[in-house]
Amino acid sequence: MKNTIRKYWSLFWKFRKLRLMLLLEYRGNFWFWTFVSIMWTIFNFFFFDLIIGARGSIAGWNRTEMYVLLSTFTMIDALTWSFFYHVMQEYISSIFDGRMTLTLTRPINPQYLLSIQTNSYTNVPRFLIGLTMMVITLRNGAIPITVWSVLGFVLFYCVSILFVYSIWFIVATFAFWVDRLDNINELVPSTRRVWQAPKEVYTGIVSVIFTVVLPFALISSQPSEILLGKASPYWLIYYTALTFFLFYLSTVFFRFSVRKYSGTAN
């Protein structure tokens, strides 16, 4: 068990190292996309600043709170985009072109191997921008920070990452079932607009969808609410439980789909 954990841990970092080597190989590409991602982030903050400036607050979240939310979103989005977009793209194309075959002969959990095999680094600066904005906002807004609120934030930051991972992996796994599913990898990122608004923005049936059924609205809200001291334990528990359930579902669905790929169903 200890050996297995060590192997999986060290493999994770080996892939990061290989990706870094590739980055150094293709620096031009890296700088270009880094520039794009920084511009996008700045534009996003600017855009929301305009909206808040006009209205003073959004769905009961004042300017400071909105900035915490946006910073959280930026940090989550930078990480999930860096990792999952590329990982899932690779995963989907390996199903279509048959490279999946090799993965399945490896003495390692295939879902793990598929999930760590690639990433990009172009969003690292974006993550840092998010973090910097967060620190500045917390200081300027004089928001009381405790060790517990920071720990809680980090914990729920991780839950959100796991949540996004699970949903995205489940969606990508549909590639096993449909001969050619173009652009399936764009489905999850297309919901990112929903992630970055406070959950109170949504009302009625939309609220039920985005906070309960497919709670994209909780992704940034939950970690932010902890920092701001306005989190509800019920929501936190629900969100955590659902995330673990989705993660479990992703592993079951993956195994089931591999069996179909292998022709068990015939």
């Binding site: 892939f15 048959g98 490279r99 075959t101 490896r106 003495p107 292998s262």
Partner: protein, 330 residues
């Protein structure tokens, strides 16, 4: 006799595919009315393979070779029948089992394109948990056998096809598998590289006492490497035994490829054998196996030749003969 390393009993693997009627109308119709059909890729095959054997697994396109190797690798679940490799049921995909075999597909590559092959080797070392000293030892042996010491630190995309294939093989064999499934490892390579790979496969078999199943469409591969051959056709086994027996019985001819310096008449060539192709300056003759060398000599004295080659008939041609004779006896 030793225990078999690989055993198959009445293996069947059927695929369900659907047939679409041609044209747009057919496409529309298939939305609600799909005609499913069963493809019997492997249809009741049994065999056993013993430690250290190199077995040639041959058959025409679509015969079911790759499908069988995939079942043996635990990638496909059999429709029915029993499969055992190294005492494992491949389908369980146990890590213990996976660390002891390798599936090499000539058309699939695993090396990282933009990095030196060495990086992929190190990655596989971690995935297969090969200890440092064993890794170094195996790597040294493999690099020497394939003579690639100078290229493993060059980006893979800058290597030639042959060099890349050598590195692919090393990556696949670094965990020193005891069982090897080679699916057309020499496909697309030139004659010299084919020879290099054959020698390597033979050496690997001796060095690591590995059991190997090899599929190929090149007679040269099979003839040089395999004493035993299993022939399948349309998912059924039609021969299992000494390769020499097939050659003696069904490859009665050899092929002489000539390049002529001066024009000759086809009728002049026909005195020496069956002219299969004649497109000056090239000509191809079928001649009886036993007399091939002698006839080649005669041709050399009779005509002015730029080049003459004695070649084995293609595997497909041999199998066609074998298949026909099966039908006659059946």
């Amino acid at each position: 006799m030793a225990q078999p390393v690989i055993s198959l009993h009445h293996l069947k693997k059927y695929f369900k595919v659907y047939r679409k009627k041609p044209g747009l109308l057919g496409s529309i119709q298939s939305l609600w009315d799909r005609q499913y059909e069963e493809v019997k890729a492997v249809d009741d095959i049994s065999f056993e393979i013993y430690p250290g054997e190199i077995v040639g697994f041959i058959g025409q396109n679509g015969a079911g070779k790759t499908t069988t190797l995939k079942v043996l690798s635990g990638l496909l679940y059999p429709t029915s029948g029993d499969v055992s490799v190294l005492g494992f049921n491949p389908w369980d995909r146990k890590a213990e089992f996976q660390k002891q075999f390798a599936l090499v597909m000539g058309q699939k590559n695993q090396l990282w394109w933009d990095l030196p092959a060495m990086e992929s080797f190190l990655l596989n070392k971690a995935i297969y948990e090969v200890p440092d000293d064993k890794f170094q030892k195996t790597l040294d042996i493999l690099m020497d056998l394939l003579d690639v010491r100078d290229i493993v630190n060059i980006q893979v995309r800058k290597l030639s096809l042959g060099q890349r294939m050598k590195c692919e093989l090393i990556a696949a064999l670094l965990h020193s598998p005891k069982v090897l499934f080679l699916d057309e490892p020499t496909i697309g390579l030139d004659v010299v590289m084919q020879k290099v790979l054959r020698d390597f496969i033979k050496a690997y078999n001796e060095e690591f006492k590995a059991t190997i199943i090899l599929t190929s469409h090149y007679m040269g591969d099979v003839k040089e490497l395999c004493k035993r051959a299993i022939v399948i056709d349309h998912g059924k086994k039609i021969f299992d035994g000494e390769l020499q027996e097939i050659i003696d019985r069904f490859a009665r001819n050899k092929i002489l490829s000539l390049t002529l310096n001066d024009p000759v008449k086809q009728s002049q060539l026909e005195k020496f054998g069956t002219v299969k192709e004649f497109d000056y300056p090239k000509a191809t003759l079928l001649v009886p196996r036993g007399r091939a060398a002698k006839i080649a000599g005669e041709l050399l004295t009779r005509f002015s030749l730029a080049d003459v080659n004695i070649e084995e008939p293609t595997i497909d041609a041999i199998i066609r003969e074998l298949f026909l004779s099966e039908k006659k006896t059946a």
